[in-house]
């Protein structure tokens, strides 16, 4: 496509038509692959070529405009190039404006970060277009802060919108931020609330990062919002989007300047004296030794051999521990610490003594709060609880499951109960797990939010491994404990762990409503039931458990929280893996068929990618199950 410059009035609308037609037929890559580099070079310094280019795109008919614009935005190597090529197309053409400001940002989410940078950079480069940038930011924030969007849109879309918001923020200048500061603040507050409510840790982190960024933009002086979360590649990438060239951050320098000005009573000698300790060797007055008679010589030391490190006596009896922990001698915090540290090993070494006081111990441990600052308190307490539960499973399980549904416990305590039940079940069913529980129930010291679904990742790995090796396992028949052959202790108590938990889930209490606000606990409960189901393989109660679980899943299958749905799907997986195939097909045929159609629905329509994957796995499991049984000659 070659033009002859100079004086000639040429109409290029036919070229636009061609371009449009080609693009709409899906050949954007080919044609723009050739066109864009040419135009890039030609328009670099030549105004006429720029105008020609603009005419070119402006003349594309509306019905093909979208494809062309999309193609250009994706193809252009930078925002300035895009600006040169498209000019103020978005301002002049309604369709282009729609595509750029609405469709690509809010309705699609598959584009890369580079494309986003191009698009938003393009909007920011011209004063005519900046108003569009502000409008785009407002709409993005509206979506970001809407609770229904957070609950129902897929995680990838939320990530996309967050990136777009951060890039917009990076392009805004001070006066513009001033003008929309109030709106930014309101959306940030609403949005952060919706994000923190979510059960998925990734969404919570997204919310935190975006809120921090918004806060740092609107509060250039004074304290900014700062959350505590684990940094990973995603958060680092997001944060890097905030900084554009030219750099925008004003925050760090201001306080430093203020400080150096205000230091009236300055410590000019401070840096020196701070360094001196490092370099100064002990100044031993060696010379003085000879010169002066050491008058210390007449002070003879006394015998100090008794002076040893003070050791706190660790309690040796469980009842002693109980006494100390129930605070009858509340003053002695050293003893309390020693008791907490020693409890687990005492319980394990004295099972008979533990069984006498097991429920009391369980009660004490459930309510035990950190009196002094011990390292790893949460883990110590949890291990002690697991030890008590494994030593005397039935009464303690009864106690714990009843407390799970009682009034006046915090969410943290209820989730602790679930964690302890799972850990104990693991220990009881797989003796080789004992002592190596890598289950990270311990919270990190900087606590503010409830921890994420760590347990779900662990068990999912286990289930995935199982699924991968499933055919082999089925062939090997019933032995799932290949190594140590000792009786499965979980067999007699599986039901005691499982059924009380599943009983009252639909009965709300004043402070605890599983089906209502406390869907995070519901999610954890569902995952716990899945693990218990999985661990109950080869136990006597497994079929009954399977039936109950299937009913439970059926009742909750349309839950709006994706974490809960993931749990439900994992329940189905556990069920299919644990309940013997014959029993599944014999006792649960209709339910299975209904479940299968539900799984098909989930696989196609569920917004959450993990749910879809789990549904697919379940369907595969079901297929294999059927094939297995059909293969066996009856």
């Amino acid at each position: 496509v070659c033009f002859i410059p100079g004086g000639l009035d040429c109409s290029i609308s036919f070229v636009s038509h061609v371009l449009g037609k080609v693009c709409v037929h899906g050949r954007q890559k080919e044609i723009l692959g050739v066109l864009v580099p040419h135009l890039m070079d030609l328009t670099k310094s030549d105004c006429i070529w720029q105008r020609i280019c603009w005419r070119l795109v402006e003349c594309v008919p509306d019905r093909w405009m979208e494809a062309v614009v999309l193609g250009f935005v994706q193809r252009a190597p930078g925002a300035d190039v895009l600006s040169r090529l498209l000019g103020n197309l978005v301002v002049k053409n309604k369709k282009a404006q729609f595509v750029v400001t609405q469709k690509m940002l809010l309705l699609q989410y598959g584009h890369t970060t580079a494309v986003l940078q191009n698009l938003l950079g393009y909007l920011s480069l011209d004063s005519l277009r900046r108003s569009l940038l502000l409008r785009v930011l407002q709409e993005l924030l509206e979506t970001w802060s809407s609770s229904s969007a957070v609950k129902h849109s897929p995680a990838e879309q939320q990530l996309y919108i967050s990136k777009a918001i951060l890039i917009c923020l990076s392009h805004l200048k001070e006066p513009e931020i001033e003008s929309c500061r109030q709106e930014l603040l309101t959306s940030m507050m609403e949005g952060v609330k919706c994000h923190l409510d979510s059960s998925l840790p990734q969404l919570r982190r997204l919310g935190m990062v975006v809120a921090e960024s918004i806060s740092s933009k609107i509060n250039t002086e004074g304290p900014v919002l700062k959350f505590e979360y684990e940094e990973d590649d995603e958060t680092r990438e997001l944060k890097s989007l905030l900084v554009q060239t030219p750099p925008f951050c004003v925050v760090p320098s201001l306080p430093d300047d203020d400080r150096s000005e205000k230091a009236g009573a300055a410590l000019p000698l401070v840096p020196e004296s701070d360094e001196k300790p490092h370099t100064a060797a002990p100044v031993m007055p060696d010379e003085e030794l000879d010169a002066e008679l050491d008058s210390d010589d007449d002070l003879t030391p006394y015998d100090m051999s008794e002076d040893k490190e003070l050791k706190i006596k660790t309690p040796v009896y469980i009842r002693d521990c109980i006494e100390v922990l129930t605070g009858s001698r509340a003053e002695d915090v050293d003893e309390w610490e020693a008791a907490v540290k020693a409890l687990e090993s005492l319980v394990r070494k004295n099972p008979a003594a533990t069984r006498e006081v097991s429920v009391e111990l369980a009660k004490i441990l459930l309510h035990l709060e950190e009196k002094t600052c011990i390292e790893g308190f949460v883990e110590l307490r949890q291990r002690a609880q697991v030890a008590v539960l494994t030593t005397d499973p039935i009464p303690v399980a009864k106690y714990l499951t009843s407390q799970f549904y009682s009034l006046n416990y915090s969410l943290r305590q209820r989730m602790d109960i679930l964690d302890v039940l799972v850990l104990a079940a693991q220990e009881l069913s797989c003796p080789k797990f004992h002592g190596k529980t890598k289950h990270s129930g311990a919270q990190k010291p900087c606590i503010q939010l409830l921890p994420g679904s760590d347990s779900s990742k662990d068990w999912r790995r286990i289930v995935d491994e199982r699924i991968k090796s499933k055919t082999r396992r089925f062939d090997m028949g019933r032995s799932h404990v290949e190594l140590a052959s000792c009786p499965n202790k979980f067999n007699s108590v599986a039901g005691h762990f499982f059924f009380p938990l599943i009983q009252h889930f639909d009965r709300p209490l004043t402070t605890f409503d599983l089906l209502g606000e406390d869907h995070l606990v519901l999610g954890r409960l569902v995952h716990t039931l899945a693990i218990l189901m999985y661990l109950a393989v080869n136990t006597v109660a497994v079929t009954a458990m399977g039936k109950a679980l299937l009913e439970f899943v059926w009742a909750l299958r349309f839950h709006t929280d994706s974490y809960v749905r993931q749990g439900l799907l994992s329940c189905i997986s556990s069920l299919l893996l644990s309940v013997p195939a014959e029993r599944v097909l014999a006792d649960m045929t209709e339910e299975l068929l209904e479940t299968q159609s539900w799984l098909g629905d989930v696989m196609e329509k569920d917004p959450d990618a993990d749910c879809r994957r789990l549904a697919l796995q379940n369907l595969l499991l079901m297929e294999n199950l059927k094939k297995k049984l059909e293969a066996v000659p009856s």
């Binding site: 205000k262 009573a265 401070v270 300790p277 008058s295 002070l299 030391p301």
Partner: protein, 328 residues
């Protein structure tokens, strides 16, 4: 063969509360009775008669809030006490009176003991932690006028002042303050100018107590760690670390250097009192009598060296009085 450590010469019982502070007043000529003042957690100040080993008087002036500092001002008739009721009380104890003549409302809610320095006949300077978190106020007593307020620079993050010592090289020189702070540093302040002269980070944990030898320009500080830090002041008024001394158990509540600068005593959280030689910091003795944290330790000011005593007060409500190294 080293001798086993001595037993206490006697033990004073009867405070019915943890003992937080001790102060001797034995310098008076005969027939004055040597006295020991003790402040307890129940708000009482007991005046112990060291001849009869009994309480002569109990002073109640702090509303049953713990008393954590007692000092005499030039004799046993004038007492200063500081309590957790945020007040410093001045007592008149002459001729059997037990009245509070004056009080200063410090608004300080911490545990920092005030420090007194006599600058002229009838005039003292008192350094105390003030209301604002990092500040130290210097007042003149008995007029209670504020001399200055020592504020660390903004952003210094020293935390609360934990222990203070006012001193001057001789009667004519400027009074100087050594303050140990919560972040583990010791700062030397020039009181008249209100400026900090030097700062030294001695510990990683808060400085619990410090004492200073004016003649040798050497000081010692202890914190909740296992080390004692000994530092010195050079001619440019700069603090520098001289030595660190490792302890067997962590935690020091109080440190005192004997007036003759030969030995020093530390009161530890491990219930033990340790004696060190001041010159070369040689460990000399470990006095193991108390059954709970030792809170305070104090040397007497007897004019006859042979009568010198060391007293230690502890959470176990006893005051142990020792005669150790009195012969030198």
């Amino acid at each position: 063969m080293a001798l086993p450590p001595p037993d206490p010469q006697f033990v004073l019982r009867g405070t019915s509360a943890s003992v937080h502070t001790l102060h001797f007043s034995c310098g008076g000529p005969e027939p004055d009775i040597p006295l020991l003042f003790s402040g307890s957690e129940n708000g009482f100040i007991h005046v112990w008669n060291l001849k009869t080993h009994r309480v002569d008087t109990a002073l109640d002036g702090h509303g049953r809030k713990s008393v954590y500092c007692v000092e005499t001002m030039g004799g046993k008739d004038r007492l200063l006490s500081q309590g957790r009721d945020q007040r410093i009380c001045l007592w008149d104890l002459a001729e059997g009176r037990t009245s509070v003549t004056d009080s200063v409302f410090t608004e300080h809610v911490g545990f920092c003991r005030c420090s007194l320095l006599k600058v002229a006949q009838g005039r003292w300077l008192m350094a105390m932690a003030a209301r604002s978190l990092e500040e130290v106020q210097i007042l003149e007593l008995p007029s209670k006028t504020s001399v200055c307020t020592l504020k660390p620079e903004v952003g210094a993050k020293l935390g609360m002042p934990m222990c203070l010592k006012l001193w001057q090289l001789n009667c004519d020189s400027q009074p100087v303050l050594l303050a140990g702070y919560e972040d583990g540093s010791v700062v030397l302040w020039n009181v008249s100018m209100g400026k900090a002269l030097s700062q030294l980070i001695c510990h990683q944990e808060p400085v619990m107590s410090l004492d200073f030898d004016v003649e040798k320009a050497k000081g010692i500080s202890g914190s909740s760690e296992k080390v004692l830090s000994i530092w010195s002041l050079n001619e440019q008024q700069n603090l520098q670390v001289y030595e660190t001394l490792e302890l067997v158990n962590a935690g020091i509540s109080d440190i005192t250097i004997r007036p003759d600068k030969k030995i020093l005593a530390t009161a530890g959280w491990d219930h033990r009192i340790r004696i060190f030689g001041w010159k070369k910091l040689k460990p000399l003795a470990v006095l193991d009598y108390h059954t709970a944290t030792a809170h305070c330790v104090s040397f007497s000011d007897h004019s006859n060296p042979r009568e010198r005593l060391l007293a230690a007060g502890s959470k176990d409500q006893r005051i142990s009085v020792w005669s150790i190294y009195a012969q030198t």
